[in-house]
């Protein structure tokens, strides 16, 4: 995405930063705002945020890389998260995780070649009483099974 000064995207970035910079501890809310807007945190946003908050670029970069949520590049059109924590393990979650890799033809932390989906692990969605659990974009999924997994795979390829 072109993010040079003067572009429309750059302006949107400035707007997000401007709207959020006045609160205490503004950095995480700003980064969430940028990621909500663009789907990732573009490298071009680092100097802008650093400037607005009076931080060094290294500080901002350090925070971005510390947290699992912030992406440095856009994800696929869909994001499928599968819980790999203990309660889901106890209900066959690991087998489901492997099936997801097989059916999608990608490994965790990868995006399909057609850009349809990114597969990510998550460690507990708070759905441990209806394990195994997953999340497709905003949608929560309990008692994930082979059938549901196949539905998801055809859904994301549409």
């Amino acid at each position: 995405m072109a993010m040079q000064a003067g572009t429309e995207a750059h302006q949107r970035m400035l707007d997000v930063v401007e709207a959020m910079k006045h609160q205490d501890g503004a950095l995480l809310p700003i980064l969430h705002g940028i990621q909500d807007e663009f789907g990732y945190v573009p490298a071009e946003s680092v100097p802008v945020i650093a400037d607005a908050l009076n931080l060094s670029r290294a500080d901002v970069h350090g925070v971005i890389t510390f947290y699992h949520d912030y992406r440095s590049a856009p994800a696929g059109r869909h994001v499928l998260k599968i819980c790999r924590a203990e309660a889901c393990q106890a209900m066959g979650g690991e087998a489901m995780a492997e099936r997801a890799e097989d059916l999608l033809g990608i490994k965790f932390h990868q995006t399909a070649a057609d850009n349809s989906v990114t597969l990510e692990p998550t460690y507990c969605l708070g759905l441990c009483a209806c394990a195994p659990a997953a999340q497709l974009d905003g949608q929560l999924i309990g008692r994930l099974d082979e059938e549901r997994l196949r539905e998801i795979v055809s859904e994301v390829r549409l």
Partner: protein, 518 residues
């Protein structure tokens, strides 16, 4: 008044299709010309019955579940809106044995009321704790909390009243109340359920904490994995502000207290209180050395109460019914009730609030009904990813902070994850090390490097490479981590690892023996 039908909006119910059920009910009602109002309530915590739909009849609430969209037409056909019989009929939800056996104090309203109706909240006893607190001197509020025996529900079990006392006594221009809603422990969902099912009780608890300690601003730090809880809490805070429950004059009193919701960014370690404070300040979520205690120098360097969601949500009932009432529940030094989260491979999974003191065996077998797969129970992990694995031989351990510590475990945030006999405990020990490696904040070498070494060494045991030597190495590593880590992530990872090794040695035997045993 039209007839009320309750369809939960709790995340677990949604994950099992509650939105589709609500839509099907609305559609079918419109088709039949039945006048109904759908209320999106919280969950009663009987997750195996979700989506559990309730109808309000003159004789009380009648439940049906688990309901699928395809069941809706037949429910109408059976006249369920008048509570009539159907194959999914469950009767009075509060008479279901799993529910009837509980002592619901903190979760009294969860599933009963409309989570975003302040009127409903008040009609069911809400705000009376805060109203009573407003008539007391701040130090008297602190005293009530201390006398109730309430200990932190986030894991460490530190007495809540003593923490509040320190902040009360601190002199500062600003003080903060921070609610730890990071709930990263696998097998736990009590914080999520109360935020989604009864958000005002948390707001009320935080307001009481503010008035007691002289703090005027609160933050609720919710993990990003909880989108529904974030949405509901934000709406609830806005409603509370409009109603004057939050703001310059809390309920018309001279006390100011306001709050906002902040969202985490996917880091387990940010549940650790000082890492959480760094994160709220916009920094990397690394753990701070203590002292200074957050109660003296916390958020932005100011005196800060940081408490778990359930600790704060338990305060209103303590103020309302009195310290003695709350303290009357429980055993030993574990007073009051605990929302047990029964999860994993278990037949009756869900949330069960009970006084401390039930044994682990009662919880897993009687309440939980044994495994979901019907196979024998092999191990139960209590207290999240840093909690120990308990074998059946320790099922007589009562649910109590000290009793679990005495058996080499912890109750943590009361997540109880059941595994059947297909579990491979070497795998579970490996995962504990792997999780620590993924989530380490990087500050201490034993945690950052030791955990990665732990994974490699366990892999060698699995491969049959010098198993005895490597098992001794894992034990050594665990000792180093236990004593050389700044926080419980590195310090407690040895619990799941060592308990797996100690109680299930056969799973760590060299491969030929493992195969021979099968």
């Amino acid at each position: 008044m039209s007839l009320k039908i309750y369809v939960p909006r709790d995340s677990a119910a949604l994950a099992l299709g509650a939105d589709k059920v609500a839509k099907a009910i609305a559609g079918e009602a419109a088709k039949r010309g039945s006048e109904i109002t759908i209320v999106r309530n919280g969950s009663r915590g009987m997750t195996w019955l979700e989506p559990m739909v309730e109808v309000e009849t003159p004789a009380g609430r009648v439940a049906y579940g688990p309901v699928k969209p395809a069941d809706v037409a037949s429910l109408f056909e059976a006249d369920f809106i008048n509570g009539n019989s159907h194959s999914l009929w469950l009767g009075d939800p509060e008479a279901i044995p799993f529910f009837a056996r509980q002592q619901r104090l903190t979760f009294a309203r969860c599933g009963l009321t409309d989570p975003l109706s302040l009127e409903d909240y008040e009609a069911h006893g809400g705000l009376s704790g805060l109203r009573k607190a407003l008539e007391l001197a701040p130090i008297e509020i602190v005293k009530q909390v201390t006398e109730s025996g309430l200990r932190g529900r986030g894991g460490a079990g530190f007495p809540t009243g003593i923490k509040w006392q320190t902040v009360h006594d601190a002199k500062a221009t600003n003080k903060y109340i921070v609610c730890n809603a990071d709930e990263g422990d696998s097998g736990t969902f009590a914080d999520r359920m109360i935020m989604e099912g009864d958000p005002f009780v948390l707001i009320e608890g935080m307001a009481i904490a503010g008035i007691a300690t002289g703090a005027t601003k609160g933050y609720i730090y919710i993990r990003s994995e909880y989108p529904e809880a974030i949405k509901i809490m934000r709406e609830a805070v806005a409603i509370a502000q409009r109603a004057g429950l939050l703001g310059w004059n809390v309920l018309g009193s001279p006390n100011m207290f306001d709050m906002e919701v902040r969202v985490g960014a996917g880091a387990y370690v940010c549940g650790e209180e000082t890492a959480l404070l760094n994160s709220l300040e916009g920094k990397r979520g690394v753990v701070r050395a203590k002292p200074p205690l957050p109660a003296i120098e916390g958020l932005f360097g100011k005196p800060t109460v940081i408490n778990n969601v359930i600790s704060l949500a338990s305060v209103p009932i303590i103020l309302d019914k009195g310290a003695a009432f709350y303290k009357d529940f429980g055993i030993g030094r574990s007073r009051g009730t605990m929302p047990l989260q029964i999860a994993g491979n278990v037949k009756h999974a869900g949330l069960f609030e009970a006084a401390f003191g039930m044994t682990l065996g009662e919880i897993v077998n009687e309440i939980g009904g044994g495994t979901a797969t019907g196979r024998p129970v092999k191990a139960v992990q209590v207290g999240g990813p840093l909690g120990a694995y308990f074998p059946e031989s320790l099922f007589d351990t009562p649910f109590d902070y000290e009793a679990f510590a005495a058996k080499g475990g912890l109750i943590g945030h009361a997540g109880i994850v059941v595994f059947d006999d297909t579990a491979d405990m070497l795998n579970q020990a490996r995962f504990a090390m792997e999780f620590c490696a993924i989530e380490s904040c990087g500050k201490c070498t034993p945690c950052r490097i030791g955990s990665t070494r732990g994974v490699e060494t366990i892999d060698k045991i699995r491969a049959g490479i010098e198993p005895e030597k490597n098992l001794a190495l894992v034990t050594d590593l665990c000792n180093t981590m236990k004593f050389g880590s700044l926080c419980a992530l590195g310090g407690f990872t040895p619990y799941p690892v060592m308990s797996a090794i100690t109680h299930f040695p056969e799973d760590f035997a060299p491969v030929p023996m493992r195969e021979a045993a099968e």
